[in-house]
Amino acid sequence: MTEELRKEQKGFKIWLNPPKPGGVIRFLGEFHPPAGQFFFFPKDLAAMGLGPGRYSVLAPESGPYRKLLKRWQSVVVSG
């Protein structure tokens, strides 16, 4: 993905899932995938400083590669 396309794409919303049912889902914010990628790998989240855990990632509704992307992704960052 070119830098221009990457900027054009809206951010991905990311939440940290609670470790146990009944816990609190924490919204972390909107992020862009690293340059050259159009989605997140676990290592990307780790590189962003996010600790181990399961994350829910919501892709933007529109943008390049939209049809290639699943709307929701679960990304697990291991410890």
Binding site: K13, W15, N17, P21, I25, F27, S56, L58, W72, S74
Partner: protein, 322 residues
Amino acid sequence: MIDVAKAEAEATEWGIPLREWMELQVKAFGNFDAFGHPRMEDEADEEWRGLVAQVLIENSLASKASRYMQCCCYAYLYECKGAEKHNLFSPIYCDLRFCPRCAPRQFARLIEKYEPIVKEVSSHRKAGFRLREITLTTRNTGTLEPAQIKRFNLDIKKTLKKLMEHVEDWGAIWCDEVGFNNTNLHAHILLYSPYLTQSQLADVWNQISGHQVVYIKEARRSGAKALIHLLKYVSKPPSSNAEQIGLLEVGFHGIRRIHALGVFYNFAGGDTDNERSEWEACPHCGAELTKLPGSVRIERAIMDGRTFVGTKSTPRRNAWVN
């Protein structure tokens, strides 16, 4: 169960629609109990209905028992004749007098039926005429038989007609009632008439029915409020005991509970719920509706994405008795 306020607040804060908030809950927790468990929540209600139905069956009212058990569980299916063939559903109600779901609906229908004439007479009163609230009682025999209730209603009719002999343009609406958790049969009457003393009423009531206790007072509230006060007994369950409710259904089987005489009979408004309603047409495109054969459980109809269209007229409801 879903906490709607919390869901809405979080969805707004995160900039996502509620649909995506729900999807997130499923992602995070694997499964999400959005509406509670329908079967679990219905269990107590179904058990209670079962006890009422048992009494109905024991008194040869199996068909009513079945309706009572299945009230609001199933739905008729409809399809519109428009190009998009919208799918719709209409819940099947039992329409029994003491059903906790149907009684408030019947109350609403009765208000719609009688409110116009009561308002009319209270705003254009004849000289000397007032709305009066009357209670006529009977001795409590410990039982409630259809013959006893029929006789009671006939006695009320005779009493009112005798009292209003030679009077023109009077009217009355009454509601048969029983005491809470007992068989104390009495009637609340809204009478539009000239002045009447308590002793006149008591004498005629005693002469016709053999019962003695009566009560009369001028309705201090507006006509509409007096009507609501009278009819509220229709919407209130007269017992917390399932067997008692069953016995009341048996006692009132084939007998009206609400009666009207005089101007209230002649000029009662239409029961709009029984006539052509807006649901004759598809709520999406206005096309005519076709009823599909059979019925399904309501949750199935909802899961299939069908739209709720309220109640439809059925032959039974057209012959509806209150």
